[in-house]
């Protein structure tokens, strides 16, 4: 098994002949086997989250599924299918060499920008009404912004690793990345999907910050962005309504927020028990999706909610360990980007559910119903696993080669 993987990786390596030599060189190894443990832990946590997701989505979505599709198990089978597919995705991606994403990152980014532009175009010619967010057909529909998010992570990781030597330079280091990021963010914001656009921007800036861009440049960009964002935020009535309902007194809370709080509060410390959620009985809209955390808090109480939070914190810690021990800079930045994207989205979702933030349409990674988002996140986790394994793989390969050479064999 390992040998065949190895072979596959070797093939890739052979193909990647145009890659700059420096990125292929390994960063110095840190003592201990932290990366491989972190990779396994990560895999375990994600598997656990997916299982919780399947159970909770079934529990919370049965009523809605019954009402919408006349089949209470509608969400169960779909979520289960996607969870299995997600696992498979982690296995496959975890086994391949993550450098392939480095090679295709530019293509990946341009495809996403193209898709986002296409969506806007279709919206302009009135083929799509309302928010132009989804692309694809049938079960394989995905949010173009999900794709763009990962494209930004991959390409930024590549750029940051390539520009390492002159990253503090404004013109060569910062501007090209800012232009790319702003292009994607603007396109997503125009869908319109303001909250996701903001989150992608935050991910982009975070990556740039980690990658070593001068803080004064980042601040100089962020400061004018804030008034722009404010104007944009009050440009659409629904956004204003959300903000008012967040800032105002309890009377002004929106229906969703009130129901969310009610559900969490009713759950109390220990929760109502598995399948005992009442909010899911059509009180709480999107109880299987954006507000799935409420059902968790209601059924399993504060303890259950804390478990979910800690699992995501665990992902963060594993991700950081993997990043610190990454074999090269590309891997490091990808690891940080992916980890941050997943955990940050999760925290945002939980913050919205518990009324710490105004309502945004962000799903809870691995738990919320939604197939393609789960697959994208699995891809990210797969990459983390792949990064955590890479160093060992290379060592194994080197040892194998040395063995072969010592025996005088031919390659």
């Amino acid at each position: 098994m390992k040998l065949s993987d190895l072979k596959l990786n070797l093939d890739f390596d052979l193909e990647l002949d145009d890659s700059p030599a420096e990125s292929m060189a390994l960063l110095p190894a840190l003592p201990g086997r932290g990366d491989s443990i972190a990779g396994k832990m990560l895999f375990l946590i994600v598997a656990l989250l997916m299982c919780i997701g399947v159970v909770v989505v079934y529990s919370s979505g049965a009523g809605w599924a019954e009402q919408k599709f006349s089949d209470p198990q509608y969400f169960l089978w779909r979520q289960l299918t996607f969870a299995v597919a997600g696992m498979a995705m982690i296995f496959v991606v975890g086994a391949i060499d993550y450098h392939i994403f480095r090679k295709i990152s530019k293509l990946f980014l341009f495809v996403s920008i193209g898709l986002l532009a296409l969506l806007l175009l279709l919206k302009l010619v009135h083929v799509i009404h309302g928010a132009a967010r989804w692309i694809g057909f049938g079960a394989l529909k995905f949010q173009a912004s999900d794709l763009a998010k990962y494209a930004i992570i991959f390409h930024f990781a590549r750029l940051l690793s390539e520009k390492k030597a002159y990253i503090k330079d404004l013109h060569d280091g910062y501007y090209p990345m800012l232009v790319l990021l702003m292009t994607v963010v603007a396109l997503v914001a125009l869908e319109p999907n303001f909250s996701t656009a903001s989150l992608i921007a935050i991910i982009g800036f975070t990556l740039m910050f980690i990658g070593g861009i001068r803080i004064k440049y980042l601040l100089a960009t962020a400061l004018p962005l804030i008034p722009i964002a404010a104007v944009f935020a009050i440009a659409a009535p629904y956004r204003v309504a959300r903000l008012v309902s967040f800032g105002g007194g309890e009377k002004e809370f929106s229906y969703q927020v009130r129901q969310a709080l009610l559900g969490l509060g009713n759950g109390g410390l220990f929760g109502l028990g598995l399948g005992a959620s009442k909010q899911r009985d059509l009180y709480l809209p999107l109880s299987y999706n954006d507000f799935v955390f409420v059902v968790i808090g209601e059924e399993y109480g504060f303890i259950g909610a804390m478990l979910i939070l800690l699992l995501f914190a665990g992902i963060f810690v594993c991700g950081i360990i993997i990043a610190k021990r990454a074999p090269d800079l590309f891997g490091r930045y990808v690891a940080i980007g992916v980890t941050f994207a997943i955990v940050f989205f999760a925290f945002i979702n939980i913050a919205v559910s518990s009324h710490l933030m105004p309502t945004t349409g962000v799903a809870l990674p691995f738990i919320s119903y939604g197939g393609t988002a789960l697959l994208f996140n699995s891809l990210g986790i797969g990459l983390l696993v792949s990064i955590s394994r890479y160093r060992k793989k290379v060592e194994t390969m080197e040892r194998a080669q040395a063995l072969l050479e010592s025996k005088g064999g031919v390659l």
Partner: protein
């Protein structure tokens, strides 16, 4: 690579810087994490009570289940008033998953087309009535089936046998008694409403909450009356006829068990239709038999006779002075309807001499007279326990004028209710023992256990038994045998009693007015009295003497009551020949059926010992009957009635009836 790390260029970045920046990011994430934790802690641990309270308000819905109101039964357990539960079905078309099957089911049950229900299910509203007020028996099957999106409500309707209207009273829309016994026994009849707690989903579907406390409704108690529905019906019919015959203003009647004080019947005219609630005026809803007092006139001579017999030791053959028909006292004349000279005391009573009554009263003296009046129950409430009972008016001796005693001797300057007068006669019938009259026999819980039972209560020994028996035999039996009360006689049964024709006081004067109250109070059988009855006819126009107005009504009421009541026959232990005689009396009067529903008409006829033979559309209302109302026919005669369903015609008929009533 190593030298890059050791000699960082100003334009590049270092591992050290990376670690620092990563630390900053991790710290920010930790802050975010802690913010979430504290927020959750606030909601789920500290404010949990607030949210729990809100949640239960949202999830639970309380539904009151009305307790079934108890019945009012007659002495034989026949319902005089009962709450009939009916079922109304409704649907939330949005939740009806299988309209086809549901429509089919309803169509099969109620006979309407499937299309009809399908159209209802197709409505865009969230609430439609499918069927309203259908009988429980018909709805039972559908009620047990839980059809998604379809629910039902129970509603109660008070249905009355339509007798004793003023006595029994009515309930309002909320099932609360508003008059009569329905009001005074509301607490017993009402029961306790149940509360069911349902869990509610956001879409409004309800299902019983398993862990909530469900209070089951406790049905009301049944109140059993001493009233005999048959006798009550007869009494009502007869006083109505008396009113019609003599063009009287109103009439009252009471039949009582002389031995126990149980009231067998109590009727008032004018009356109202309890089920249709037409013409509900205070005038018609008043239970005159206990609320209205009047100057009794000659029936009050029982006090004078009792005092003379017991206190003065007078006998029937004692001679008294009739003063030639006129006695002048303090410039006022007391007149007899015919002049008497010296006559026996017995004749004075049976011919109802006012002159003798006045002079005898004066001989008795005010204190003694007052004592006997009180002993026989005048001037105080009988304690029958009916709403609005009046105690009459009997002034204390200290407030008597010079004319009070003589006038009181023959029944003026004193006010009494029909029930008080009857009580006095029943006391005489019961060997001088005054019993408290009562209408409530018992109160029974829904489980059949007796909650309360009334037992006969002796209030006072008003007269010595010998006195009472002597008076009954020598004076009041004679009144019916050969005096003013001849028409009160019942064939085969010895009756005792007294007529009373009282002139009504109008604007403080008896002069120039020809308004009378004609009454007859009596009991039977005279030798061993069991039942007492009184008939009071107020302001009869065509005749006014009680002997012609009230006495015949008394005879008819008691005769018919005896004919139809096995209980009464048993009490009198009547032998065959007497019974045969009574059976001949058992011709019945055909009631007016116009405008009644088929079931009501059938009930009314059955009551009168007649049979209904319907033709026309069944379930409709009566538009004509083969035998004219008021005609007397043999029992068991069939009355053919035409039934029509058209609403318009029913309306017309109602108007006709009203016109008829006005003409009468």
């Amino acid at each position: 690579m190593n030298d890059e790390r050791t000699t960082p260029e100003p334009k590049g970045t270092s591992d050290h810087e990376f670690g620092l920046r990563l630390g900053v990011m991790a710290a920010l994430m930790l802050l975010f994490f802690l913010a979430i934790v504290s927020k959750l802690l606030g909601i789920q641990v500290f404010d949990v009570k607030k949210y729990r309270a809100k949640a239960s308000r949202q999830y639970e819905v309380m539904v009151t289940e009305t307790a079934r109101r108890g019945r009012i039964l007659d002495r034989h357990g026949r319902p005089l008033a009962e709450s009939v539960e009916s079922i109304s079905f409704y649907a939330d078309p949005k939740h009806v998953t299988d309209p086809g099957a549901a429509a089919q089911l309803f169509s099969e049950t109620f006979g309407k087309s499937r299309r009809h229900y399908l159209d209802l299910f197709r409505k865009k509203r969230r609430f439609v009535w499918l069927e309203r007020n259908v009988p429980v028996a018909q709805a039972a099957k559908l009620m047990s089936q839980k059809i998604k999106g379809i629910g039902f409500r129970r509603e109660q309707h008070r249905y009355y046998l339509n007798v004793g209207a003023q006595l029994i009273g009515l309930t309002d829309r909320d099932n609360k008694g508003i008059s009569g016994l329905e009001k005074s026994f509301d607490k017993e009849l009402r029961g306790r409403d149940g509360v069911r707690v349902f869990q509610r989903s956001a879409t409004g579907e309800r299902y019983p909450a398993p862990d909530a406390e469900q209070v089951l409704p406790m049905n009301g108690n049944d109140v059993t009356l001493t009233i005999d529905a048959d006798v009550q019906g007869i009494l009502e019919e007869e006083i109505a006829q008396a009113v019609a015959e003599f063009k009287a203003r109103s009439a009252m009647g009471i039949v009582m068990d002389a031995r126990t004080g149980e009231i067998i019947a109590m009727a008032n005219h004018p009356t109202f239709d309890m089920n249709r609630r037409s013409g509900l005026t205070a005038d018609q809803m008043r239970n005159r038999a206990v609320t209205d007092m009047f100057e009794p006139g000659s029936t009050f001579k029982i006090v004078m006779a009792a005092a003379a017999t017991e206190a003065l030791q007078w006998r029937a053959d004692r001679l008294v002075d009739g003063h030639g028909g006129t006695l002048t006292l303090y410039g006022k004349h007391i007149r007899d309807h015919e002049p008497f000279e010296t006559i026996t005391f017995q004749k004075a009573i049976i011919e109802s001499s006012n002159v003798v009554a006045a002079s005898t009263a004066m001989k008795v003296g005010p204190e003694v007279f007052y004592r006997y009046a009180r002993a026989l129950g005048f001037g105080q409430k009988t304690g029958v326990g009916l709403i609005g009972e009046s105690g009459g008016r009997l002034k204390p001796v200290s407030r008597w004028g010079s004319l009070t005693l003589p006038w009181m001797g023959y029944g003026y300057q004193v006010m009494a209710t029909p029930l008080q007068v009857l009580q006095a006669y029943a006391t005489m019938a019961n060997d001088g023992a005054r019993m408290r009259p009562f209408v409530i026999k018992s109160v029974t819980g829904p489980d059949g256990k007796k909650v309360m039972e009334n037992v006969p209560l002796k209030v006072a020994q008003a007269l010595k038994p010998e006195t009472a028996r002597y008076m009954a035999k020598e004076y009041f039996r004679a009144v019916v045998e050969k005096g003013t009360g001849k028409l009160a006689a019942i064939e085969g049964i010895p009756v005792a009693g007294k007529t009373g024709t009282a002139q009504k006081l109008h604007n403080g004067s008896y002069q120039g007015w020809r308004y009378y109250v004609a009454s007859f109070a009596g009991f039977f059988p005279c030798d061993n009295p069991q039942y007492a009855a009184i008939i009071v006819v107020d302001e009869p126009q065509t005749e006014y003497y009680a002997s012609a107005v009230a006495a015949p009504a008394f005879s008819r009421v008691c005769g018919r009551a005896l004919a139809c009541s096995l209980e009464m026959q048993k009490r009198l232990s009547m032998k065959a020949p007497e019974k045969e005689l009574l059976d001949r009396v058992s011709t019945v009067v055909v009631p007016d059926l116009k405008g009644l529903r088929e079931s009501d008409a059938a009930k009314l006829l059955e009551w009168n010992g007649l049979k209904l033979e319907p033709f026309g559309s069944s379930g409709g209302s009566v538009t004509s009957q083969s035998i004219a109302p008021g005609s007397k026919v043999e029992k068991e005669t069939k009355v053919r009635v035409r039934l029509t369903k058209r609403v318009q015609q029913v309306m017309d008929t109602k108007q006709d009836r009203r016109a008829d009533g006005a003409a009468r």
